[in-house]
């Protein structure tokens, strides 16, 4: 697993290196930790991504003002957003919208507001900002994304944001020098486990200059994770053990508190 992940990362690095000569800049990035272990008492944390923009002799000397957008997307899953409506005097779930293979965690960071970085057209094409990220949905017979102010889409983004799982920060990327940058990737307590892709895009004068990718992995360790895995994979054994535990606790209680 670990090996495969690092091979994938190496592959990406090689690919990005191969793509370099056509462009004048290249990005060199790294995250502070490629494997985050989440323990039961984990209450959130932060990864640091840092990197630099390497120029070569082909770089136009006039180019200096770089903009950077970092997109972190976690493991994908299908989700359903439901809306409650008042029927017969009570509030019940009526409408729903299915979101297909959307990231469990999604964060977009940049050094300044997206509208200052690029034109609306480029923002949409490069998926800059939560409003422009592609969130595939089943709309009737079609699979598509909808306009950002669609009630289901905006509710979905808002609810995920309330849990800290979707976020957008347009001042999170800091340029330490004109070419050296860093940003923090906050991970709330509820982060889903799995592989996270980090895409770094470099803009200059409103156009994409180059991009690169890296990845990290979140694994949960400890007793709780063991319990969760067992419950999912060996339902019968898990049920038996839980039932046995219940009977033991009841029996212990009847001994401890026996009056005669």
């Amino acid at each position: 697993m670990r090996l495969r992940a690092s091979l994938a990362i190496m592959g990406l690095v090689v690919a990005s290196l191969a793509a370099v000569p056509a462009r004048a800049e290249r990005l060199i990035v790294s995250v502070s930790n490629h494997r985050v272990t989440v323990t039961p008492n984990y209450s959130g944390g932060e990864l640091v991504l840092f990197g630099s923009v390497e120029k070569d002799d082909k770089t136009p000397s006039s180019r200096g003002n770089y903009d950077l957008v970092v997109t972190v997307s976690g493991p994908r899953a299908d989700m359903v957003t439901r809306r409650k409506e008042r029927k017969f005097g009570i509030w019940i779930n009526t409408d729903s919208r299915q979101f297909l293979q959307v990231p469990g965690y999604l964060a977009l960071f940049s050094n300044r507001p997206f509208e200052q970085i690029a034109s609306p057209e480029v923002q949409r094409r490069q998926q800059l900002g939560l409003n422009n990220v592609l969130l595939m949905q089943r709309v009737g017979p079609d699979f598509a994304d909808v306009v950002p102010n669609d009630p289901f889409r905006s509710a979905f983004v808002r609810l995920r944001s309330e849990h800290g799982l979707y976020r957008e920060a347009t001042s999170a990327v800091t340029f330490l020098t004109p070419t050296l940058f860093r940003t923090g990737i906050p991970l709330p307590a509820e982060v889903p486990i799995g592989t996270y892709n980090v895409e770094i895009k470099l803009f200059s004068d409103g156009a994409l200059v180059t991009k690169t990718e890296t990845a990290f992995e979140i694994v949960k360790v400890g007793f709780e994770q063991f319990v969760a895995t067992t419950a999912r994979q060996n339902g019968l054994v898990y049920g038996l053990v839980t039932a046995f535990m219940a009977l033991m606790t009841g029996w212990m209680a009847s001994i401890v508190f026996r009056k005669d």
């Binding site: 899953a77 009570i90 509030w91 808002r158 219940a246 009841g250 209680a253 009847s254």
Partner: protein, 309 residues
């Protein structure tokens, strides 16, 4: 102290859950009931998903009814034959209940059904108990005799065929109503995450005319087996039983129950019924209010499928 619940998928304060277990245990010891109808709502109010609460409370009730059943067994206050016949219905009812639970969950209406059944069941049973307790109290205050059971009065239930003699309880009764009672309790137990003791005991006293000496012990055996069965089925079909949560609840529950039982002995029977009726009614009304007022957020998200491996 924060602890992460593996299945409920949220961090909780261990002492809060322990205290909840102890409080519900106290009440259950006092009234001689499992307390599931209090525990499940409390867990839901704390923020645990209704489905996980229902499934986990099943194992908690199994623990508390087992310790109760042991002590009733020692006092020979359990009718094994009656328990066995009840269990026939109880097992079928539980299986049907878990199946219904899975079905409603796939429709996205499980939370609504749990809330609705709580409202209907608790307000009805609570109202009846409260009314009955109030009347008994007024009667005893006026100095009249407290008669719960008119000897010699036989309803249509006693005219049914397939009669069986239940020796320990000293009753001669058709197995049909017994199986039906077991089925109903098993079903609502699995769907609502309650042992059903607070419904089963009145049903056994008023409908089946089981003498009070064997009622509670026998009902505990039924609760124990249906809840063990429900735990197993919920674990196998829905993977929703949170063992860590259940263990904390059990420890708090069995401890609280001991003190509750002592407190219960100091209170008169009709007062106890009145209090229990009020409590049941209050929980029912709390659910009703929840359904009627506009929710803070009209939208909710649920994950339906995992990421491809």
């Amino acid at each position: 102290m924060q602890l992460y619940l593996p299945i409920a998928d949220i961090p909780v304060n261990v002492f809060l859950i322990l205290a909840m277990g102890a409080a519900v245990g106290f009440v259950s010891g006092m009234f001689g009931i499992g307390g599931g109808f209090l525990m499940t709502p409390l867990l839901i109010f704390v923020g645990i998903a209704p489905a996980v609460a229902v499934a986990s409370v099943a194992s908690h009730i199994a623990a508390s009814s087992f310790s109760g059943a042991i002590s009733y067994w020692r006092r020979r206050a359990i009718d094994p034959l009656l328990a066995a016949v009840l269990l026939v219905g109880g097992t079928i009812g539980t299986a049907l209940g878990v199946w219904t639970f899975t079905f409603l969950r796939s429709l996205g209406q499980l939370d609504l059904m749990i809330a609705l059944s709580y409202v209907i069941l608790l307000t009805t049973v609570g109202g009846l108990m409260f009314w009955e307790g109030l009347r008994a109290m007024l009667r005893s205050r006026r100095g009249g005799p407290v008669t719960l059971r008119k000897p010699g009065s036989h309803g249509w239930i006693h005219g049914l065929p397939l009669k069986l003699r239940f020796k320990r309880s000293k009753i001669y009764l058709s197995v049909i109503p017994v199986v039906v009672v077991g089925l109903v309790i098993g079903f609502i137990g699995a769907v609502m995450g309650i042992g059903g003791g607070f419904i089963l005991v009145p049903l056994m006293i008023y409908v089946l005319r089981v003498p009070t000496s064997t009622v509670i012990g026998t009902s505990m055996v039924l609760t124990l087996v249906t809840m063990v069965f429900a735990t197993m089925l919920h674990a196998v079909t829905n993977h929703l039983v949170d063992a860590v949560l259940a263990l904390i609840l059990m420890i708090g529950g069995v401890t609280g129950a001991q003190f509750g039982a002592r407190a219960g002995q100091k209170i008169r029977g009709e007062h106890l019924r009145l209090l229990l009726g009020l409590l049941v009614l209050a929980v029912g009304i709390r659910f009703a209010v929840e359904l009627v007022i506009r929710p803070q957020d009209l939208f909710s998200i649920r994950e339906t499928g995992g990421a491809p491996p």
